[in-house]
């Protein structure tokens, strides 16, 4: 049984939607998805949402979802991980045969959070990590340092990623942080936690997205050809983690590529809360044959390169909407295939800022 994307909707990324609450943001995204799919909310059989209560400041976040997306009195469930994980849950639910059309939704409103780093502290081990009060960017910097040491890449490579993505975002009206910058601009931005400069870190943004999945071929516009998810981290503590690499990517991506029966894709969309996340993900993907930073330097990941990566601008150019980053990638992939005529893409998204776990999805424009 094939599963198709019938339509997508989003509200553009912004530093803050001061005039909209999350219900209004989600409603806007859902309306656009219904319009895009050409169906009425009554034709949806259920909702799969992505959310983390400690980000939202509301417990049982999914109970606040159905009304504004057309899901009242229907099946409703929450995946407390990245929204690409929720997308895969929607895919699997459809393949049970119990549903015909499902909507996957997510939103992020980090502008509501007064103390983001303190909130994120709640996700760390309360005995051996939390008392040290590490900022999540510091943990990301540990990953960046280890990646640079492991791969032979230089901090300037991180800057090249930031420049590429911010430039790509200039063509994306949903992007909040597009810009024409130079590697020197990024190098000269404030040091945050070495080797990370401010310009290597994706700025948080408010965002909402809705994607309609279906098993009805008449409604399908893109096909979900393969999915994969893997958890690469040791859950007990941070010290036994494999720093500097994303172990989950290889397992999740290979599963998705095997399901799809392909070895190459036309482009990649990958959530990158930090510049090094993109390179670490591409190392794990390994379909390029070269160390990622060498391909990057040669322009291979540029819009005109042999494997464009984050043609949407990624999270560096669009803004990082926390757990909504995965569905942000799905929507951008669909937009890019429509606009650029590309036929296949790989979507990768981690289950958090510095989590070695995540999801992979292969989409094609063939139905």
């Amino acid at each position: 049984m094939d599963v198709y994307v019938a339509g997508v909707g989003e509200i553009p990324c912004r530093p803050a939607y001061g005039d909209l609450d999350f219900r209004e943001m989600l409603y806007t995204a859902a309306r656009k998805a219904y319009e895009d799919a050409g169906i009425h909310p009554s034709e949806i059989d259920g909702i799969v949402s992505s959310g983390m209560d400690f980000y939202e400041g509301i417990s049982i976040t999914d109970s606040y979802t159905p009304d504004q997306v057309g899901g009242r009195l229907k099946f409703n469930t929450l995946v407390s991980n990245d929204s690409l994980n929720a997308f895969i849950h929607g895919y699997m639910l459809l393949r049970t045969g119990h549903f015909r059309n499902l909507m996957v939704t997510c939103y992020a409103k980090p502008s509501n959070m007064l103390n983001y780093p303190e909130v994120v502290l709640n996700s760390f081990d309360p005995h051996v990590v939390r008392p040290l009060t590490p900022h999540p960017y510091v943990l990301a910097a540990l990953d960046a340092r280890a990646y640079l040491s492991r791969s032979g890449a230089s901090p300037r490579d991180l800057s090249l990623v930031a420049v590429k993505n911010k430039k790509n975002a200039l063509g994306n009206t949903s992007a909040a942080y597009a810009g024409a910058t130079t590697p020197d601009d990024v190098e000269n931005s404030a040091p945050v936690s070495e080797p990370l400069k401010r310009g290597h870190i994706s700025t948080l943004c408010d965002y909402a997205a809705a994607v309609i999945l279906t098993t009805d071929r008449r409604l399908g516009r893109f096909t979900v050809k393969g999915v994969g998810n893997a958890f690469g981290a040791y859950s007990s503590d941070l010290s036994s983690r494999m720093w500097g690499l994303l172990a989950w990517v290889r397992h999740a991506a290979q599963k998705a590529l095997r399901m799809a029966g392909i070895g190459k894709v036309d482009f990649v969309e990958v959530s990158e809360p930090f510049a090094h996340t993109e390179l670490m993900a591409l190392e794990g993907l390994g379909i390029d044959g070269e160390p990622a930073h060498k391909t990057l330097r040669a322009g291979g990941y540029d819009l005109g390169g042999h494997l464009p990566v984050n043609p949407s601008g990624g999270c560096l150019g669009m803004g990082y909407p926390l757990n909504a980053a995965g569905l942000q990638r799905v929507v951008q992939s669909v937009k890019a295939m429509s606009r650029m005529g590309w036929r296949t893409c790989m979507i990768l998204s981690s289950d958090g800022e510095v989590v070695d776990a995540g999801s992979a999805v292969v989409l094609t424009s063939e139905v």
Binding site: V128, T133, Y234
Partner: protein, 219 residues
């Protein structure tokens, strides 16, 4: 071990903007849980004077809630924390794959079996990865001098895969490194723990004040 009520650490309080620190201390949130003022006055209290946290154009409803927990440490972590109070770093060792686990676990997820052999480690090891951090956990705080955050992998505890020499596991800790100039820190630098004095240790990861170069540091 009965875990004491959670407290904000001195390090954490030091990172707070002055008015927030004042509010935390004023509300006695730095002391035992449960001794806050009444709901009404608590909710009406102005949360912060920090300008960047204000959103003048928004209609916001503030909900200041102190979600406080007293986490049961569990058997393994309790013995580990008790060990820290005694100035010892304790771990467990799997009898099958021979891995040393610090912080300890009572199971080996590789072999999926119980683990009951305890070992003590000096805490000497090498820096696996590190960062010079200019930020605290509060968005308004920027540190004048960077702190060195590092992952330390303890000596003779790493397991490597024969084919790639990739480290699959190492016993170690995420912690602070001090007693060395930031520019002199490097991956592979050998470090040892510096303990708080007898009587000052409480059974916390902070009983290790920091890690410092084995050779005494370079400035």
């Amino acid at each position: 071990m009965r875990v004491k009520p959670a407290r904000y650490s001195e390090r954490y309080l030091a990172q707070q903007p002055e008015d927030v620190r004042r509010a935390i201390i004023g509300l006695e949130l730095d002391k035992e849980f449960g001794r806050v003022e009444g709901w009404a006055s608590s909710l009406n209290r102005k949360y912060t004077d920090t300008d960047e946290w204000r959103a003048e154009n928004l209609i916001l409803t503030y909900w200041r809630i102190a979600c406080r927990y007293s986490h049961a440490a569990g058997k393994a972590a309790t013995r580990f924390l008790d060990g820290l109070r005694d100035g010892k770093i304790l771990g467990t060792k799997c009898g099958r794959c021979q891995r040393v686990m610090i912080p300890p676990r009572l199971f080996c997820e590789w072999c999926f079996r119980d683990v009951d052999e305890w070992v003590e480690h000096s805490g000497e090891g090498a820096i696996s990865t590190y960062s010079l951090s200019y930020i605290g956990t509060d968005p308004g705080v920027r540190l004048e001098k960077p702190i060195i955050v590092a992952v330390i992998w303890f000596d003779n505890t790493s397991k490597k895969s024969p084919s790639s020499q990739t480290v699959l596991h190492a016993a170690g800790l995420l912690h602070i490194v001090d007693g060395v100039k930031p520019e002199n820190v490097s991956i592979g630098m050998r470090v040892r723990p510096v303990w708080r004095r007898d009587g000052e240790r409480t059974g916390s990861i902070l009983d290790i004040a920091y890690f410092t170069p084995v050779d005494g540091g370079v400035g």
